[in-house]
């Protein structure tokens, strides 16, 4: 190991096959490939299995590559659980919570970043503390509260308790702090109301943070399982995709068709992973911001 920081010239060397890589470089590349292969393996197995025939999925020892890849499992999976309906439910849950979280977080984040008012620090601390509260701690009374509000067994019950969250407020405050006061003052001088200032001046200035929060909120609520399972009380019509998937497994126990389960899982994984690939730059930045500046 010769150096920890390498000038750009050395990096160019790697691209040219004429020059031999040092043993350290070769080892590092091997380690990176090994880590990436291990990380990708379960997902690759999931996709490969979804393309196998039922016989292939039950073979001992397991076959890795389907002899003739086919999409039969994808065609069949909708017969077992109403997949279209579940996808629709998941989309409604993820999109409405995300939209609301963006608005509520921008508003509260703006107040905490740019206003001075009494008990500001105390209120901020109280809200942020909820970020560290495991949902199970509040699950039992929350289930009763949504019952009182007539929300149980409905999609509204899944959505309404999640329209605001502490992480969003924290993230927005961090980024709105960096918006120059002069920009805000200028808009006020022009007679803009505070809500206009927020949504027309401040929000466009923190677009990367908003993109990150869109991804965070969408993925979290697309994937969320514990609360929908509890509040929907077995109303299968309203099940999001993740709950329908778990029902697919219990169906699968009798039918022994692993391919079906893997096809369903592949479909459920697609929206959050695709969104991540599109917005990943912002997500990494926001994780860094919440970790370092926090």
């Amino acid at each position: 190991m010769t150096a920890t920081t390498v000038p750009a010239a050395d990096r160019r060397v790697l691209a040219r096959p004429r020059h031999r890589a040092t043993p350290v470089q070769a080892l590092l590349v091997l380690a990176i490939i090994a880590a990436a292969v291990i990380a990708a393996f379960p997902l690759a197995w999931m996709i490969l299995t979804s393309l196998k025939t039922p016989q292939e999925t039950m073979q001992v020892p397991p076959v890795w590559l389907p002899a003739s890849p086919n999409l039969d499992a994808y065609a069949q999976v909708s017969d077992v659980v109403s997949l279209g309906r579940s996808f629709w439910n998941s989309a409604i849950i993820a999109l409405t919570t995300t939209a609301a979280i963006i608005v509520t977080s921008l508003m509260a984040g703006y107040a905490f970043a740019k206003y001075e008012f009494r008990y500001k620090e105390a209120l901020f601390g109280l809200l942020i503390a909820t970020m560290f509260l495991p949902p199970i701690v509040t699950l039992i009374p929350l289930y009763r509260i949504t019952g009182y509000l007539g929300l149980n067994a409905s999609l509204a019950g899944v959505v309404v308790p999640n329209l605001a969250n502490a992480f969003g407020i924290f993230l927005m405050r961090q980024f709105i702090k960096g918006v120059p006061d002069e920009l805000i003052e200028a808009a006020r001088v022009d007679g803009a109301s505070e809500l206009r200032v927020l949504f027309q001046i401040v929000a466009p200035a923190v677009m990367p943070a908003i993109a990150a929060l869109v991804l965070f909120a969408f993925v979290y609520h697309w994937n969320s399982y514990l609360w929908p399972l509890t509040v929907l009380q077995g109303n299968a019509e309203q099940y999001p995709i993740v709950i329908s998937l778990s029902r697919l497994l219990s169906y699968n126990r009798g039918a022994m068709n692993t391919g079906l389960v893997m096809a369903g899982a592949t479909l459920a994984v697609l929206p959050p992973v695709l969104l991540f690939v599109i917005l990943q730059r912002f997500f990494v930045d926001s994780v860094v911001a919440s970790g370092v500046k926090g």
């Binding site: 790697l14 990708a40 379960p42 997902l43 197995w45 020892p61 803009a192």
Partner: protein, 313 residues
Amino acid sequence: MGGYWGTQARDEHTSMHSTQHRSAITMLAPATGLIGVFILLPMLLTIWLSFQSWSTQTGFETATFVGIQNFIDIFASNSVGRDFKAALVNTAIYTVLSVAIILPLSVLLGLLVHQKLAPGGVFLRTVLFSTYMVPMIAVALVFSKLYSPTEGPLNQILGWIGIPPQTWLSSPQTALVSIVLLNVWQQVGYFTVLAVAGLTQIPDSLYEAARIDGANPVQRFFAITLPLLGNTLLFSAVICIINAVQVFEPVALITQGGPVNATNVLTFHIRRVGIERAQGGLGSAMAVTLMLALIVAIAALFAFARSREGKTQ
């Protein structure tokens, strides 16, 4: 709301403050109201219910005060107490194992992503982080197949390198560890990104100076990298602990807490008691105990971090 610049008659300073006050209320009302009703109020109710006998299927008005009886029950030597204590111990083991595997691994992978010697760091970060986007329920489904003793590829791979087949999820000795590994696979990418953020903060000049002093890479890691990652690791540990106590999907989906209670963890157990069996008082006492255990664990972690900081300075 409304621009305070229009209210010229009043002293600018007081005007600014009162207008800001009103605007602050408007801006904070939605988020504070929602978090208040759906998180803070339930938190207070959980504490109140932990001292009540109450069925989750009835209104709060049917609760009757029983003092600390719920806490006595969940620590008693009957089946209620045995199940809860098993869940508490399982959760503690699960949490300690998760932190003990994820943190060192995240630093190791973070170094791989951060290094500039060889290409591929950003690619690795993308692959690792994408696993964090996968719904836990899909992770559980896929791993239940990977772990399958006969049709799963993991035992096959172990066989190639001469390791006997493992029981994975089907035996009490290995089931909990198998769920920890599944959790590590899903979460390590997030903690790697945190580690990289910490590594980026360490100035290169420190490494230059150490190299001039003749420190080898291993010495540099223990003298510079690890101590300066302290705050990052503390933050990672706290998040890792809070994530670990939330483990639910693999247990609910695959093991149902078994075999023989080996994977009965608190989130699963509290929901089973408090929602499915509708024993709201007992479930709330368990939730309060979990909360207290978390506070103690995190306070101990901070005390440990501070004592180490004191030693190195």
